[in-house]
Amino acid sequence: MQEHPDYAETAFTNGYEFTQGTGYQLPEYPFVAPPELTSGEVRRHPIVVVGGGITGLTLTCLLAHYGVPVILLDEDNTVGVKGASSRGICYAQKTLEIFKRLGIYGRIAAKGVQWSVGRTFAGDDEVYSFDLRQQQTLSLSKEPPFINIQQFYVEGFLVERIYQLAQTNPGVELRWRHRVTGLEQNGEIATLSIDTPAGTYSLQADHVVDCSGSHSPFRGWCQATTTAKKGDDRWCIADVRFSNPPPAERHTWIEAPFNEGRAVWQHLMADGVWRIDYQMPPDADLPSMSREDVVRARLNAQFKRELSPEECEIVWVGPYAYRSECLDMLRHGRVFFAGDAAHVVSPFGARGGNSGVQDADNLAWKLAAVVEGRAAPQLLDSYSDERREAAQFNMRVTNRTTRFLRPVDGAERLFRNAVLSLARQHLFARQLVNTGRMSTPNTYTHSSICSKTGGLATQNTALTWPDGTRGELIDLLNWAGSRLLLLVFGDLPASAARRLQDLALQTDVRCVQVIPPDSRASAVEHVIDQEGHLQASCHVFGHAWALLRPDSYVAATGESIDTSLVHAIAMALGTRWSLQGEIA
């Protein structure tokens, strides 16, 4: 097919630069001319996702997993950033649980790196160290606290999974080299103008999700306002491979003697590639800090000798500045913003990519329920409320770290010096050393669809099936799909069991009884909570029920099977429920 001369190549606007080294061969996906180009017909689709980064791909994969039609438009034809290799590297437990639901966790665990020892240094001294293996008892999840892996691997696994799901769900389409050039919308529908190598066309969507990153054009088209903060902190990443690698530990220096007293991060990813991230002088010039000779000089200073290109291969170099920014509303009419398009934070604590994945998880089941007519359209407003609260929390936490790592002269620097000098001897001061607070699931405290006891994340705990084999909470969630899952803990009198059965028929909620070992179940669908971990994970005690959303959050909890449960179900779906069983 003749290439349309007007289709401009993708612009690399994020400041990442590729230098020497073998780098990575990123997969390329085929451009397929859409049927609209020949027919000229403007088709209407329920959901269109724009941007095939980690957020857009996770959302598309979740919708495909729920059996909902979805079209993804990506201006590029590969994963990662074309010509560059990796951005995010650290995937937190909640994200790993989402990937497990989608069936790609096994590949991530096999390819990625789990580490447990972290050491923090100030000057030449170790200020403190930790071993996550000793803290694992704190977690009830089957997944580890986090896995390091290059972002493009995760994205590649998601693409392959989407193609797999599309085989049985023909409404799922990945459209590569489709760039959105314009948006118009009214209260009912959005119309997108799209540029492709074979020409331009328009399509209509009931719901558009913008996952096109921090330079999203949708912000302007929707006149979305933001709250932003930009600092002078500058960093430069060197992704390198050593012939003689250092120990597989995460090292962070707050004041590295080999980096003029500034911070350095060093951690391992897949393929034996180390990410070494150097803090640069404030307002440093980005292009000059990423020259190969400058990068090599930094590596030589760190390892205290001249490293030959054979001993230390530079895979990729990426200088960056960061800002802290959040849209004031994550929904503008038919358009929803997710991932970096909605909010940008500093990289400390791995709260960028991980929050994008969790945005997708929050929105996917709501879109599925609304598109399939099982929930009121107002349910979608709760996406903005819940994920904006999460974004603001992440901004606050990452800004605190920024303040510790790039203190302003005066009191900020004075207190950091005091903390570091105390931390060497006094245990308590180590709690104040802030090299990033690792991403954990956010709590929704002001959600219109959660009860007072809801809004909390669960963890993927183990459980036992009636035949004695082992399972996990994700098995139940996947059984429920995009529907609510009601777990009823403890024994169930016959009258309550009947009410539960009626409720399940009327409301389309999946119900499971959870019993302790050696007790008798009265519901057909039941599991055994051998260690009590499932109940703890749902934040309830004794005889209780917990209403779980498909994103594994608790919507509400209660004690008896009565109208309070009926209301909780209606609330979780954005509807009001009358006792006649009609959606009002």
Binding site: G261, P281, N434
Partner: protein, 73 residues
């Protein structure tokens, strides 16, 4: 003297401490610190404990923190 972790929310405390100093001159900052120490000391009250804190704060760290060169490089 407590040496173990005792903050309910260390990061929130640290943030509010820095916020209190925001925009102050050096003299104002020093005065704020002094007033804060006295207010906190009165919360502790216990003479032996206060003496132990003063002694610990006065001890030199095993090695001095390296002087950072964030500026002028």
């Amino acid at each position: 003297m407590k040496n173990s972790l005792n903050f309910q929310d260390a990061d929130a405390f640290y943030e509010s401490l820095l916020d209190a100093h925001h925009g102050l001159s050096r003299e104002q900052s020093e005065l704020l610190n002094a007033r804060l120490i006295l207010l906190m000391a009165n919360q502790i009250g216990n003479t032996a404990l206060l003496q132990a804190c003063i002694a610990a704060a006065g001890e030199p760290a095993p090695r001095p923190a390296m002087t950072p060169h964030l500026h002028g490089t």
